[in-house]
Subunit: 332 residues, 2 copies
């Protein structure tokens, strides 16, 4: 089976939003007047970003989800994407499942596959995603990392740390009960891009990004871009680990044997969360809650932006904590 | 040295054409009113698309060149690109040279690096490129594969076959004199994207694509998209191998010991040429020559589009030749 048949069989569908889709030298996209194109690219490498034995359907989902998460962080409406795929061999059942997971998420967001490349090589998935951001009265509505101001609240959506916890469990570095692992690994393998929340935050958030390398490391990017400091309540952040909340709720039914420091480490530097981390002025707290409700996405206030540089961790009593929770770095 | 420092040191430059460049979750591009965005993506895998020991400066050039070649084939003006890079390790001298080759070609085409991703893994380079195509009176000026008509001339730009000849010489499959190899391998390692020719052909060519997998295989895509057949003069195509022309011109000085069939194979199915293959109505021959002169790019008429399906090869006497010159396929 040749490369071109492969593309056609699993990925080619009639162009809808695109003027021209898969099958020519270029795809053609015509953004609507008064909009900007938001563009992001992510490369996923086997053994680095996912375990080689990952269910290909979930992998297809995740490959697009991490890219949609970047659009969400910009407040962009997903439009289209390209897919470049390097495969060690042509495995039709793998490809069919991968395409199914990928295209199901694409369809859920009206995000069209408009072009790509397939080749033979070590498993590698590179997606570039395109979204639309309105320009209103000459001003882009895109959410950037650079807009945080002193006194702004810091929020994070959803849950934290479960993805990394699942990874450690799958690698045998920590132990989770089997039925807990089933749920927890969904956070690793099928993250939910917070697209609706990103759109709802367009006029509300002062800065935003998505948490991919770990909460504190990614917050550092906002602080650097905004030239600000911050204070973060480590205990509130740690309470957002879904697996931990569950283990507390049903105490006695199962016990996860982790120190408080280890739990904090998962929440603060776990990575692979694909939640939105954003800031908003304190007088917009009601607007943040309205955005949360409108997008059906829980958000939690975890700290505050300060003019004073540096990142300060406190516990639930307001007492300072040493910050040893550095972020995951692909070349660390 | 961390991933983020890497990006900053070698690839981050101030945004120019882009509204927002490298360093946020998304880049922002605002196409001009009355234009479409042409988008293409190519993935280059070590050992598959280039030899691992390739000079990184040339590899940087080639990685972007093959993408610009897709824009050229659409008649699109290069605008910007994203780069996703998987590297087995952080090798600063390699990265510096790669960035130099890449950004020199980008600057030559006013094509801005607006975003990317770097990670650790087997060497893999994935570029997505963006170009601009005018829409005039509601009609896109993009060159497609689907517009060839019976009686149209078939043209190819530049030279054919040298890239594959160089690859075979580097792999020890054929022998070239050292000083010949120095010149020939440039066609493999530093192809020239025919951007100016593509732009000049906007109102002239009826169909176009770039030759990456071999002349006849790629012509097959035009024929399939246009539902046409073609007749190609194999001898004219074979005369476009620069190395062969040189060996004929300086006969006696060096001798390349290849059969006529082997030469034809390089010209007709060599691959990696990155020349433009296009069709144009016969009454536009003068316009094609004008486009060639304006873009300072030689073009050669190699055949004709026929209503009768199928691809017919003839020799310089007009006699039919058997076509055993299939195209290179990444999964063949």
């Amino acid at each position: 089976m040749g490369e071109f048949d492969l593309i056609a069989r699993y990925f080619k569908r009639p162009a809808r939003r695109a003027v021209l889709g898969v099958g020519d030298d270029c795809a053609l996209l015509q953004p609507r007047p008064g909009t900007q194109m938001a563009i992001s690219t992510d490369m996923l490498v086997a053994g680095r970003h996912f375990l080689t034995e990952t269910d290909p359907c979930r992998l297809g989902h995740k490959s697009l989800a991490v890219n949609l998460s970047d659009l969400a962080a910009c407040g962009a409406q997903p439009l289209a994407f390209t897919l470049a795929l390097s495969l060690p061999r042509v495995d039709e059942s793998w490809l069919a499942a991968f395409a199914q997971g990928l295209l199901a998420l694409a369809d859920a967001h009206g995000c069209e596959l408009i072009g790509g490349d397939t080749t033979c090589g070590p498993l590698n998935i590179c997606i570039t995603v395109f979204g639309e951001v309105p320009v209103v009265a000459g001003r882009s509505q895109a959410l950037l990392r650079s807009g945080a101001q002193p006194g702004d609240d810091i929020y994070v959506s959803g849950t934290l740390g479960d993805a990394r916890l699942a990874l450690d469990a799958l690698l045998g570095k920590t132990v989770l009960p089997d039925d807990v692992l089933v749920a927890t690994r969904l956070r690793l393998e099928q993250p939910t891009p917070r697209v609706a929340l990103g759109l709802a935050l367009r006029d509300v958030a002062s800065a935003a990004l998505d948490v991919s390398d770990g909460l504190l490391g990614d917050l550092g990017h906002i602080l650097e871009s905004s030239a600000m400091g911050a204070t973060v309540d480590a205990d509130v952040a740690t309470s957002l680990i879904a697996t931990r909340a569950l283990s507390i709720r049903v105490r006695g039914q199962f016990n996860i044997n982790l120190s408080e420091d280890k739990w904090r480490r998962y929440a603060l530097s776990g990575g692979d969360d694909y939640e939105l981390l954003f800031t908003a002025p304190a007088h917009l707290r009601e607007a943040v809650q309205a955005a949360s409700r409108a997008s059906q996405t829980p958000v939690t206030r975890i700290g505050q932006i300060n003019a004073e540089p540096g990142l300060r961790l406190i516990d639930s009593q307001g007492q300072p904590l040493a910050n040893s929770y550095t972020s995951f770095d692909h070349f660390a």
